[in-house]
Amino acid sequence: MTFPIATSPTSSGQTSTTPSGGFVVETSGLHVHFGRVRAIDDLSMRVAGGTICGILGRNGAGKSTLLSTIAAFRRPTSGRIEVDGDAPFENARLMSEICLVRESGDFEKGTTVGQVLELGEALRPRWDAGFAERLVERFALPRRMKAGKLSRGQRAALAVTVGLASRAPLTMLDEPHLGMDAPSRYAFYEELLADYAEHPRTILLSTHHIEEVASILEDVVIIHRGRVLMHRSAEDLRSEGVELTGPAEAVDAVTEGLRTLSERHLGRTKSVVVFEPFDGDRARRATEAGIDVGPIPLQDLFVHLTSDTNDATSNNGDTSDETRS
């Protein structure tokens, strides 16, 4: 007697559990080159299944190339990508379970909104047609309008609709919501969180609206010049960076020997961004010296870490090899 078990095969002959919690994504020594341009340059990371992970980086950092390579839109130049234990390129099982939506939407201009949804229903194994319809209504998308006639915001709304309704165990959103106005973006975040809670999966979210998504990210990968500059849980990342503001002499005293990312002066008041664990003793001394200690916004941290003046940080072994599992 055979009892079907919710498993999926891997090339190694092993089986993995049902991807209800989302696929694990792992890269090792990944390179993607375009001629002489090294878009991805020895990138290694591991994203646990069932997390919402922010992929942050400046323009040209390699975010889109990384996501499109994971989605098997292209083959890596060298190195290894594994999704749920297998290489995704030309892997029928994985490709149908990986959904990458990009800002362009990748829609054929002549197809209508309704046809885009029909395609998703025909090709995506976990497509939720009811959910898609609800999102179409929420974003007020005209079903009969051709994709080429949609506004940038409508195209973005259609892209996130496809991304969410696919319910793929690995869903990647490469800045698809950039063209949406603020109310639509917040509607997207709301739908994303609600659906993620009900249908856990791995979500990689690339965005420039860092502060907007900071509260929904569980994991943060910062990519700089094709490499992982930092990989932390969002909570750790915030707690590891503090901003000290107070009398200049007192601030200098408590930050002596610590790695500082930036300094600002206003009269005799000084504000310093420290990127190191700020332990209890230091925090007590700072408080006694009348220094305000507060977390720095994720976006500020990102700007500090990826600014050209902090390039030394990107080459610092303290952060570039960070991985989480």
Partner: protein, 259 residues
């Protein structure tokens, strides 16, 4: 009964409702490519047929068409270029649409091959069917018709032969278009442009060895190529299309989508 037999692993994933989850079947993706092409090709055929019918009505009443075949001259002669265009859309339209929806390149190619054959058959029926209907019109008006190649009273077998040769020529042009565009994706713009003449070989070969209009070889090969039965030329065209299709499939297997 052992534990192993009780818990034998089946390589199948199920959704929370217990339904099997897996990649889309070939029938689904082939339907998408085929219907996608028919969506525009069908309109062209319908428009051409209607225009032909509208033009024939006053001619039947007031004119005389003894001699030539408008269907052969004005319709049948350029169908292959529609198929070349259809082949060109294989990668930028259908491969992109399907790959971004999680379909492998290999399945895209298999779907395109199915679409090519179905469209080729429909195209052959369109060309041959038009000739047959035109024959009826000529008979009703008591006109005499001479097709290019000298056939003055094409019977059923001749019409079927023309249709069969049309299928091959249309498929040859389709795969030529597919190869042409795959070359740009795979080899880049410069080498891809240089590859176009190579990609056109299946189309050129089919034109040389099959005379679509009357189902015989064209005059240019008389005295140059061996005088073989037309079936041999048809089979050789099938072989060329098959090799070209393998090449197109191989080139499609590594195409990359832009960021």
């Amino acid at each position: 009964m052992t534990d192993e037999t009780m818990t034998e692993v089946v390589h199948q994933t199920f959704d929370p409702a217990g339904r099997p989850v897996g990649p889309p079947p070939l029938s689904t993706t082939a339907a998408i490519t085929t219907i996608g092409h028919i969506g525009w090709l069908g309109w062209v055929w319908l428009t051409v047929a209607v225009l032909y019918g509208v033009a024939m009505i006053p001619i039947s009443i007031f004119g005389d068409l003894d001699g030539n075949s408008p269907w052969q001259d004005a319709v049948g002669g350029w169908q292959q270029w529609l198929f070349y265009g259809a082949g060109i859309t294989t990668v930028p339209t259908f491969a992109k649409m399907l790959i971004t929806n999680g379909v492998t390149r290999a399945q895209v190619s298999r779907s395109s091959i199915i679409a090519m054959v179905i469209l080729g058959v429909l195209g052959g029926i369109f060309v041959a069917g038009g000739l047959a209907v035109e024959g009826l019109i000529y008979d009703v008006n008591d006109w005499s018709r001479e097709l290019r190649g000298g056939s003055t009273a094409p019977g059923f077998a001749t019409i079927v032969g023309i249709g069969a040769d049309s299928v091959l020529v249309l498929c040859a042009y389709f795969v030529a278009g597919w190869l042409s565009v795959a070359g740009f994706y795979r080899l880049g713009w410069v080498v891809g442009a240089l590859f176009v003449p190579v990609a056109m070989v299946p189309a050129a070969f089919s034109e040389l060895v099959l005379r679509v209009d009357v189902g015989t070889r064209i005059d240019v090969l008389d005295g140059v190529a061996p005088d073989l039965p037309s079936a041999v030329w048809s089979l050789s065209t099938v072989a060329v299309i098959a090799v070209a299709t393998l090449g197109a499939t191989w080139m499609t297997s590594e195409i990359e989508l832009d960021n």
